[in-house]
Symmetry: C2
Subunit: 317 residues, 2 copies
């Protein structure tokens, strides 16, 4: 078992630099990388310093949420909160209304408020995000999107799309309409779409694809425009439950009841009649996994770079 002196010698830095590193203080990225490696190699557990480390910690966690009235956000925060309660962290949320500038500001606010770590429910990760995440020097975990330079919890969106495509093919549908979203959201805009295309391709089907908005009311306008002029589809897929609900609204207004599929497991898909088929996502579980991972990072324990949450294949009804 190595102690802090050994670590300092191995890294060729002073003991106080190691201590600063352990307390999430400022060290160069080169030193940080070196210390990361040494600590991982020797499986260094800084538990003997837990008491002193603790003094530097606030036991507060910040979470950045892009919107409020959302099943996905609600469930994810529930999961984060469960683990926070278990591990005696306080959870504070920062609501950014899908605005990049506010997200950057939220990261800085959490850093200044001395949060021990941050969970960021992201839709789009820009170079500006990366810059500030590197700057704030507290552990940050992204939920919902993948990024090569960041710790992430993601969903198997390709698989979710594939399952739906394969299922629709099996059921004998021929003319499929897909309402997707912008590719700047790579999870939903790219992976989910590509999975669907591949699942349908297995059955020799090529879907018609339009791009619409994440917002129900904006999607409703696009859906109306498209479905009023193209009536030959026998199944319609929304890239999200909100989009699927817009399709449902259009159909019930016009007395149509073609098969509609969404993604996310929003309970509203059950309230409407007929219910919409939706692929449930394990948002709450993802929140728990994210907070467990963040706690390990705060304690300088080794963690995975990315954890992919699987899709429950039994959803088919």
């Amino acid at each position: 078992m190595k102690n802090i002196d050994d670590i300092a010698k191995l890294a060729g830095v002073s003991k106080s630099t190691v201590s600063r590193y352990l307390n999430n203080g400022s060290v160069s990225s080169q030193t940080k990388q070196k210390l990361d490696e040494i600590i991982q190699t020797y499986d260094y557990q800084p538990n003997q310093f837990a008491q002193s480390l603790r003094a530097h910690r606030t036991n507060m966690i910040g979470t950045i949420i892009p919107r409020m009235n959302s099943h996905a956000v609600d469930e994810t925060v529930k999961g984060i909160k469960t683990i926070c309660d278990k591990l005696n962290y306080r959870l504070l949320l920062n609501y950014t209304n899908l605005n990049t500038e506010l997200e950057i500001d939220a990261l800085e606010t959490f850093y200044r408020s001395k949060m021990d770590g941050v969970i960021f429910m992201a839709t789009d990760i820009t170079p500006e995000h990366i810059e500030v995440i590197n700057k704030v020097r507290v552990p940050v975990i992204i939920v919902g999107q993948s990024h090569k330079d960041l710790h992430c919890i993601t969903y198997d969106d390709y698989q979710a799309g594939y399952l739906v495509g394969d299922l629709l093919g099996q059921k004998g549908y021929q003319h499929i309409k897909f309402f997707g979203v912008t590719e700047s959201d790579s999870a939903v805009g790219i992976h989910r779409k590509n999975g669907l295309i591949a699942g349908l391709q297995k059955h020799g089907i090529q879907p018609s694809i339009s791009i619409t908005s994440f917002h129900y009311s904006e999607a409703l306008i696009d859906v109306e425009k498209e479905l009023q002029t193209h009536k030959h589809y026998d199944a319609i897929v929304g890239a999200t439950d909100a989009i699927a609900l817009a399709v449902h609204k259009y159909q019930s207004k016009h007395g149509i009841s073609k098969h509609v599929v969404g993604f996310g497991g929003d309970p509203v898909t059950e309230i409407v009649s007929p219910p919409i088929q939706t692929v449930p996502y394990a948002f709450e579980h993802a929140g728990e996994v994210a907070m467990d991972m963040l706690d390990k990072m705060i304690q300088h324990q080794p963690v995975e770079k990315e954890i992919v949450i699987g899709i429950d294949q039994t959803f088919k009804k």
Copy 2:
């Protein structure tokens, strides 16, 4: 114009006590009351100390939210956020899942994190809440409930209930079922219900009343039990939109389409078919009003004790 010396003399306390008071520090409740009165009487504007006060401030606002996946919470936070952005405050949220213990803890966490003020979206205010609110010594505003000892933003729930009762009477409905909630939530459980009863009474109608839960899935069970055995109602009122949606679900499952009314203006009431009639609440406006009021309190300007947000009477369709 009085200065801080005059205020101290008038109150019979030291200048440092006045300064402590102005900086939200600890002063006795007796002294606080005396200083409140003097400052209000002489319309004392501590602007000349703004700079020094500012140094003691973090420009951070805490908001306690009882749940996430809620139209009311979403809209209220939007309103709060708009004013925070305008006045250069940072907004942090604490999610308490309708748990009193977590609410108490949230108040203390915000106090320890040196928030300048707190907005509390409450459903039930217990003596424990009052105790901690008095203890934390930062301005706290309650949104959604009224309490004689606290600053509040409330809705005219009685009027909302009355409008619905009167409207149903005018439309000629005779047998009205009302699904209410516990009276421990006085806004919804008492005022909204009493308004409905009074509005119906004007037309000589007495509703049948059952108590159910705020949660859709729990309400669905109660609604099924009641409506399966009592089929003679010609209109059904839910104390909230979630309850009205449970009634809608029951009806669409059984091919029934009696008139359903809810409260809150949740957009889901528009997605379902047929749409549910709902009384819109100005949640976003209430959030703006609350944050404006909180800012005044932080600056020690006089504010109203309670502001009642009116109901838009044009909702009738």
